[in-house]
Each structure stands twice: as C-alpha cells, then as structure tokens.
Point group: C2
Chain length 210, copies 2
C-alpha cells in the first residue's frame, strides 16, 4: 500500500516513469493532509479555556474531519488501484473481433470505475471544506495559517481530482454517465471554490494585513 511507504518512498514512486501513482493519488493525499490540518486545529482548540464556548462544536467537527481524513487516505490507494485495472484492460488480447469487443467493454467499465474514485475524492474534499470553514471561524486563532493551508490543500485536492474525472470522461462512450458525472463534478467544484475562498477570507482577517 502507498500509505504504508515512507514519504520519501512515495515521492520517489511518484516521480518515476510509471504512470501510477500519479495525479489522482496526489489529489487524495492533498485532501487527507487538508483534513488532518483541520483536525489539528480542532485538537489545539479543545480544552483551551479561551475557547470553552466552542468546545462541543469543535469536538463534533473533529469527529467529522477524522472520518473524512481516513476516507481520503484510503482513496490514495484506491485511485492507483483503479488506474491499474484500466491499464490491465488495455493489455487484454485483441486478435479476434470477439476479443476486441470484450477488451473495449472492459476498458469502458474500468474507466467508469476510475472516474468515480476522483469524484469521491472531490466530494470528500468538499465535505471537509465545510468543516474547515467552522475551524477557521471559531478555532484557535494561533493556528489560523494551518486552517488556511487546510483549505488550500482541500481545494487543490478537489480541483486536481476534477482533472482526473475530466480526462477519464473524455474516453467514455456512455453519454448518460458522462452527463451525470459532469453535472456532479461541476457543482462540487463550484461549491469547493466558494468554501475555500470563505475559509481564506476568515484566515486573512485573523492574520491581518502584512
């Protein structure tokens, strides 16, 4: 599993001449790091006298961000696995017409699955951004920059996953699936962009103008 490799090994594998892991897994990693930073700010807020009023809310947020972080961490490996299934389908025999038809069907099916993984990354990043906004508005102000980096990572993870959704949609023949996923990813991307801007505005007002 990619997540059981060291950070150095992960970066080495990323840079290598193998197409997986690639941008899809990195998008999920960015999301997981963003959710983890949101959790950190919760943990640095809970139990502090100054923030006693938001203790219950931060505890609830932390439960969510930890759940979302673990889901995003799993998606790091799921994205690479889904890509490998697509590659395996491309490797199927294509000598006869029957083989060609079976190969095309397998490629289409695998590409659909490989599209739904980054779509899930997008959804999970967007859900995490809702939590990051609460963290930026009500969490420990000493950690304002961490809340901001959380939002930047979640937004980049969402936008990066969107590129992976799009490049896969480009090779799919099922027009209904393409339209449905296009509507979904467009709406998620818009919402994520709006939320990340709101988080960064809250962070800006805390850090002040330097």
């Amino acid at each position: 599993m990619l997540t059981e490799k060291t950070v150095t090994q992960f970066l080495d594998e990323l840079a290598s001449n193998s197409p997986a892991p690639g941008g899809g897994s990195v998008a999920a990693l960015a999301g997981a790091a963003g959710a983890a930073l949101a959790s950190m700010v919760c943990n640095l807020t809970i139990g502090k006298k100054k923030y006693v009023d938001v203790q219950a809310e931060m505890t609830a947020v932390l439960q969510q961000t930890e759940k979302l972080r673990k889901e995003l961490a799993l998606l790091i490996d799921k994205d690479t696995e889904a890509f490998n299934v697509v590659m395996a389908a491309f490797g199927l025999p294509k000598a006869t017409e029957q083989e060609q038809a079976a190969r095309t069907a397998a490629i289409q099916e695998a590409t659909k699955s490989a599209t739904l993984i980054p779509l899930q990354v997008m959804k999970t990043c967007e859900q995490s951004l809702h939590q990051a906004l609460i963290v930026a508005q009500k969490g420990n102000k000493n950690s304002a920059s961490d809340a901001g980096v959380a939002a930047l990572m979640l937004q980049a993870g969402c936008a990066g996953a969107a590129l992976n959704v799009r490049i896969n949609l480009g090779s799919l023949q099922d027009a209904g699936f393409v339209q449905q996923v296009t509507e979904q990813y467009t709406a998620i991307l818009q919402s994520a962009l709006k939320l990340s801007r709101e988080v960064l505005a809250a962070v800006d007002s805390t850090i002040g103008a330097n």
Copy 2:
C-alpha cells in the same frame, strides 16, 4: 525525520494536538509532490518516439524538477525544526529583566529563521512552476492531468507557505526585515499564480471541454 515516516504516520502526526508538523510542512510536501509529478511526466515523455523532438528539453527539465523536489522534501523537516526552535525560545526563563530581554531576542531571532523557511518553499515552488509549464506545453499529452495536478500542488504549496510567512511577520519587530520579506513574498506569489494559471490553461486545451 518526518520524511522517513510512512504516509499514514505523517498524517496521524499532522492531525494530533501538537502544533508541529503543521501547515508549513504540508506546504513543502505539496510542493514536493507537485515537483515529483512534473518529473513523472518528463519520465513518461523521454524515450517516446512521438516526443523525440522534445527529448533534450525534457531531460533538462527533469534535472531541474528532481533538484527542486529534493529541496522541497528537505524543507518538510526544516519547517518543523524551525518551528520547534521558536517554541523552545518561548520556553526560556523570564524571571528577571535580563532574562526577559534575552528571551525576547531569542524569540525574534527564531521567528526570523522560521519566516525564511516558508519563503524558501515559496521560491522553490515558483521555480518548479516554470518547469511545470514546459511539461504541460510539451510533455506527454496522456499525462495532461498529472501536469495539471502538479501545478495545483505547487500553487497551493506556494500560497500555503505565504500564510506561514505572513503569520510570522506579524510578530516581528524588525521593520526593515518585514518590509523586505513582504516585497519578496508578494512578488513570488503573483508570479506563481500567473504560472499556475498558464499551466492549467495548457492542460485545459489538451483535455478539452468536458
């Protein structure tokens, strides 16, 4: 070292109630992942018949992105180390006036160092974006989404490091240092934003409108 931990361990430490590692290390990690993705696209371009015309250029880009990736990976740990020095300075005794003065001076000095690390992350991300643009324009078109995710990570790394520069500048008394660093980080941030938009425009025209 953080980079010798597994990805899972790194995310667990990030989410914990310790302020380091935090957003500064994550910004460096995002930059390192972005540079690694740019390297990957170079590696998937070099040696391909279709891209024989850009072989020499991609080899030169790869040399740069690998150098920048290694620098960014080192900055993951350097940021946390610099933060820990600041925390140690806050822990110095403050019983006498002399101790108070020494403590304040140590905090100021450590905070300056902790400001220059994310500034270096910003510079290295911006330099990597120059390379990512060549990769997006001339690299293997099958990896267009990877070039796009590279740019998103480098841009988020740069913007995230900028938040860390700013939060540190806010507690510094040396007006000359503050002004000099403010001018530098503002210029780098503008350049990085422009470059990442250019990369994403190139990626968009490759992936097409979906």
